[in-house]
């Protein structure tokens, strides 16, 4: 069953069309990444799905409940980790978690046990009874995630979970999130503008630009959809032109071209194309010096689909003062 269904969502803030018909589906247990520059509509999508605001058009379901008509049922099924930490900084970590559990209808020994469990899981047990004001950025963010998990939600929304963290805290957060995604049978919707984060954590990705999903797929599919893989074959005995003619006829090999001794081509899958290329060349008696491939990174995909303006959009939409996405 689909844990999240989004159909043609629209939302306007004043003169800004934040969402202009966003659609996607996320199946149960999946980690889904919404990728895009600041101002693309990622956070707005999450706010709509978390029932903080209502759409102007379209519809959305989370855990089988309509986000407008059945908002309270959605709220019981989700954990929401907002972009900017919503913890009560004057309370302790444990108090924050206890209160969150209580408003989710938990109580008594079950709640105490769950809170202890989460504090251990997130590695903040030693700081549990300290006021959050003294927490490091990474600890505070872990607590944010904990607040989203207290009531064992079916769907967890993570809005920019590692923005503003130093590289070390980010890496350890990724580790935690990876473990979470594997451990609890949880559907996770994650927004980010870090390619690496999406690549590492998400099973599937949708790239959002100007309030629309421009492309969707697994990170591998997206990379393959763009350029495939680049294969470069170095020919020994000056028969590069012959080699080009042979390789060009092979299935799954595109845009073969020669430059000096180098035969370049794009293939859908290097693992499948390379043996075919090599055996075809060998059959014609053409010697091969070396074969190299490189894969287009998610950065290339992102750049391709969000267009060149994304750097400008990032600068214009960047409210959190964070450096633009790693690329």
């Amino acid at each position: 069953m689909d844990a999240i269904v989004v159909e043609e969502l629209r939302k306007r803030y004043g003169r800004v069309q934040a969402l202009d018909g966003v659609s996607f589906r996320v199946s149960g247990g999946e980690v889904f990444g919404l990728l895009g520059p600041n101002g693309a509509g990622k956070s707005t999508t999450v706010k709509l799905l978390a029932t903080l605001t209502t759409p102007d058009g379209g519809r959305a379901e989370v855990a089988g409940h309509d986000v407008v008509r059945d908002a309270d049922a959605v709220r019981r099924s989700i954990g929401y980790v907002p972009q900017s930490s919503g913890v009560d900084r004057d309370a302790t970590g444990r108090e924050n978690l206890m209160l969150q559990g209580r408003v989710q209808g938990m109580g008594g020994r079950a709640l105490h046990k769950r809170v202890g469990e989460l504090l251990d899981l997130l590695g903040i047990a030693q700081a549990a009874d300290r006021v959050v004001r003294g927490y490091s950025g990474g600890m505070k963010r872990r607590l944010d995630v904990g607040l989203g998990l207290v009531h064992r939600p079916q769907v967890l929304f993570l809005d920019e979970p590692t923005t503003g963290l130093d590289p070390e805290a980010r890496a350890s957060m990724w580790e935690e999130l990876g473990r979470l995604a594997a451990g609890e049978s949880l559907t996770i919707l994650l927004t980010t503008h870090y390619m690496e984060e999406a690549d590492q954590l998400a099973d599937r990705i949708a790239i959002v630009s100007r309030g629309r999903v421009v492309v969707e797929g697994t990170p591998e599919e997206l990379k393959a959809s763009l350029y495939g893989e680049a294969v470069e074959v170095e020919i020994i005995d000056g028969r590069a032109a012959d080699a080009e003619a042979i390789v060009d006829t092979l299935e799954g090999v595109h845009e073969a071209s020669v430059e000096g001794r180098k035969l370049r081509s794009r293939v859908v899958s290097g693992a499948r194309a390379i043996p075919a290329i090599l055996s075809a060349l060998e059959a014609s008696g053409i010697g091969v010096e070396s074969v190299t491939t490189h894969r287009p990174s998610l950065d290339d995909v992102y750049l391709h689909y969000t267009g060149r303006e994304f750097a400008a959009e990032d600068a214009a939409g960047g409210r959190d003062g964070d450096a633009p996405a790693a690329r």
């Binding site: 903080l52 709220r75 989700i78 929401y80 919503g86 004057d90 408003v103 929304f157």
Partner: protein
């Protein structure tokens, strides 16, 4: 409804727990009302002997004490929206809004917290007054009325303060508005001096001043010859105003939600 009450209780607990961690805040909570009582008590000591009278007692401190309870509750209320702004600034509210928490509890808990503190301070003022020789004429019922007036006084303006906080969402603006409302209403009441001693127009204005409603209710039960009709009338007016401002705050909360 029961859910709203439970959630209000949780939220009041959160606010009080956090405040209990601030030793300076607690110290001022206890000392501030006594300072008012002693300072004003000394400053205006002799006004009860003014020609024209109207004080109902020759002991100025007896005249003053119940009004200080009200004044303290009133000023506390005008600032109560600051906590809401702090929650807004720190994005605590959006986090709660993604849970099934009762929306109304997020607003009402701020008012209840504010009124509770006013009652605690009221008890302190009454105890200190007792030590200074003030006797509450209506005895135990009188204490209850003074504290009820303090709670309603505070709730009425805390609702207003929360509503304004949700509309302006800026500390500096909130401070300006609190000052703008606070001092004029305070001086247009009979807190410090008998209403018979002030110019006619002020006497008329005071009739419509909620701060004065609170002062009348509280003072009537302390002085001899309690006019119970006046007590209940003014408590009723304060109650009505509290309901109205709580509704206003709830309405502004919905307006805030639409901006998310």
């Amino acid at each position: 409804m029961t859910l709203a009450v439970r959630h209000t209780w949780f939220m009041v607990g959160r606010q009080l727990r956090n405040l209990m961690r601030e030793p300076i805040w607690i110290a001022l909570l206890l000392v501030q009302p006594m300072v008012w009582l002693l300072l004003y008590g000394q400053l205006f000591k002799r006004v009860t002997h003014l020609p024209g009278g109207g004080f109902g007692t020759t002991s100025y401190i007896t005249f003053l004490a119940p009004a200080i309870v009200i004044m303290n509750a009133f000023f506390g209320a005008t600032w109560s929206g600051m906590a809401m702004i702090s929650d807004l600034d720190r994005d605590v509210l959006p986090r709660f809004l993604a849970t099934p928490v009762s929306r109304i509890s997020l607003v009402v808990s701020q008012i209840v917290r504010s009124a509770l503190i006013a009652v605690i301070q009221g008890v302190i003022i009454l105890v200190v007054s007792l030590a200074l020789g003030v006797r509450v004429h209506a005895a135990l019922l009188g204490w209850a009325v003074v504290l009820a007036a303090a709670a309603l006084m505070n709730a009425a303006f805390a609702g207003l303060s929360q509503g304004i906080a949700l509309l302006v969402r800026k500390e500096a603006t909130m401070i300006a508005i609190a000052n703008f409302i606070g001092l004029p209403l305070f001086f247009l009441s009979s807190t410090l001096i008998s209403i018979r001693q002030v110019p006619h127009w002020m006497r008329v204005a005071a009739k419509f001043n909620p701060v004065n409603w609170g002062v009348i209710s509280a003072r009537e039960v302390v002085l001899r010859g309690t006019d119970w009709a006046a007590v209940w009338l003014h408590l009723g007016l304060l109650f009505g105003l509290s309901v109205a401002t709580a509704a206003f705050a709830t309405w502004t909360f919905r307006a805030y939600q639409r901006t998310i």
